[in-house]
Symmetry: C2
DNA sequence: TATAATAATGCAATCGATTACGATAATAAA
DNA sequence: TTTATTATCGTAATCGATTGCATTATTATA
């Protein structure tokens, strides 16, 4: 098997010490111009590339950021990753991405793996059903900074969140202002702070605009795939419940609802209007095009990475955790009446 | 700053040699039961975790696989990643994912970064506009095995491809058999082998089924986003070109075409039928639901990883590159007439 | 000419873990 | 009692690169 070229190989070939080779390669003025030239020439010839492992070990610094998130396939998360990459790469950092698949056990394994690889810091969005946080605390205790994003956690660390309350509030306000006052809400899983915030926004908007509200308006959907929400709306219609607007916790749920309505020959948005959440890629494709709340995933990724790098670069002095909440934006499309 | 616990720390605390600690931790019988117990107890107390960097350096083995692919957000690629994860994790390997963003320069940087991190092997799907392959050859020359997937490359290496010819053939055959004989094809970028294969299938099906074919039936779309294909179909209609079926190189293009038809009040599938490619997530959401060709991404990821691990584990002996072509499957939905 | 200053390079420790080999002590065999 | 054997543990080299501290050789200064 071919072996990678090392400093030692260059040194042997040129009959000098590895330390000299090392210095010559980085243009140290202590080394004579002649020697430097010889070394750099040979290095190029043999295609020498430094071993990042050895460097990391030496410097106790991997220049690598670990990223833990629930699923790659979500459009929102992929925009977050782009933001992370932008900042990380331009600062000379690599990233390692781990999917937890919304699985707490996988998440625990991921944190361990990232620690064992001695990443310089971690960006994490916890899985939906994470309720203990020891694995993160343990990492922090070992001196590795963590910044959480998108989903809130009861941990003393920096966080970049989206203003889910505001999103829920504005979605609901838009529905009400377009004349729909008998709304239902397809809500996310209990315990997931983010979905509870959206629900809170839903309720608050009712109160602020003087629209009556009761708990029956909230329909809880578990995983929130389209199929499930299709059935929920189907059942709701079957039970004879009346409504003229739906605020769904995400676009997938919204599509499920939309299809149930279409199957029942209920016109959207004339009879029932719909607002989704997150502005998935398909939301502008489907017919009618879906009104939704856009979160700035790229910005979230960038901000989170900037914060993390700050903490990495000042490992010695204590840094007060920051919590940044990013604004959302409503994207008006065809599933709501726009006046 | 808190520092991670090392073997040396344990050794100092217990007043024994690090070599003894190392052996005790892995239950080496040369170490007395008493000592072993003491070491393991302390290790647990101090939450000792071995430094993967040091191990990798020592063994010249990182147990890490590098993955290079164009974009994470593509549903197909995310299923490939799941397949890769399944096999990699169950074999004790971690993965590092790099997005090239269909950018050759980024791709070159990625290969370098992965090599510098001394990954044990690489799984790669080249970017759309990659036409030189020196960066991959260089990696191979350093003894790191590479397995390519999805997109074919003129490199002597193992490959897992999808049978794009078959997919294009069956899509076209289905359209013709459902009574549509005046088809057009929204084709992918020139030079991308995969899209040329699909086009070849389109042509061959015409010939085999005795349907006249001419080059005007092929409309080339560059990047292939929905907007672009919307315009292409719009222009085609404006020019008065007649057609009753569309085979699109991917689902996004198909949706663009679909929307252009709907805007022109042309009924799908009655007047014009559509077949897409790749079975994106949204394809079963939209209305009408899209008939498409499904590629088994998970299987592709699994097979590619298995092949790569084989090559990694037999680094010394030469392994003949294998090329596996996976079958595709047509998913019949509402954008075509199904008889 | 003797000494100091400078330039150029080598030696060896270091990062954290592993492992071949050597060393010590205790026990068994002769 | 002396030697061989075994159990147990330590020493040092190693992976690849860096870097503080010598060590030379050369030139400048007194």
């Amino acid at each position: 098997m071919k072996q990678a070229v090392t400093l030692k190989d260059l040194a042997r070939e040129l009959n000098i010490a590895t330390s000299t080779v090392s210095r010559a390669l980085k243009g140290n003025p202590e080394i004579s111009a002649v020697t430097t030239a010889r070394v750099q020439k040979l290095a190029k010839e043999l295609n020498y590339e430094p071993n990042a492992l050895a460097l990391s070990l030496r410097h106790s610094k991997t220049n690598t950021i670990g990223v833990i998130l629930p699923e790659l396939v979500h459009f929102f998360f992929s925009t977050v990753i782009s933001g992370i990459e932008d900042i990380a790469y331009s600062n000379g950092y690599n990233i390692i991405i781990c999917q937890s698949n919304e699985n707490i056990d996988r998440e625990i394994l991921d944190t361990k793996a990232l620690f064992n690889h001695r990443v310089d810091g971690i960006l994490a969005c916890v899985s939906r059903n994470t309720s203990v946080y020891d694995h993160f605390i343990a990492i922090q205790d070992k001196g590795i900074p963590i910044v959480f994003f998108d989903r809130d956690v009861p941990i003393d660390a920096s966080k970049i969140l989206s203003n889910d309350f505001e999103g829920g509030y504005n979605a609901t306000k838009h529905l009400i202002e377009s004349g729909k006052i008998n709304l239902i809400h397809l809500s996310g899983p209990e315990g997931l702070m983010l979905s509870e915030q959206r629900t809170r926004g839903f309720i608050q908007a009712h109160q602020d605009l003087g629209i009556p509200f009761n708990k029956e308006k909230i329909l809880r959907c578990g995983d929130g795939d389209a199929q499930e929400n299709y059935k929920i709306i189907q059942n709701t219609l079957k039970k004879g419940m009346k409504f003229d607007g739906i605020f769904a916790v995400n676009d997938i749920a919204a599509v499920g609802a939309l299809q149930a309505l279409q199957a029942a020959h209920i016109s959207v948005p004339q009879e029932v209007a719909i607002v989704g959440y997150s502005d998935w890629q398909f939301s502008s494709f489907i017919s009618p095009r879906l009104t939704t709340i856009r979160q700035n995933g790229n910005e979230m990724g960038r901000k989170a990475t900037e914060l993390l790098l700050e903490e990495i670069h000042s490992k010695d002095i204590f840094i007060e955790p920051k919590c940044i909440t990013l604004p959302t934006k409503i994207i008006l499309r065809e599933t709501t009446l726009n006046k």
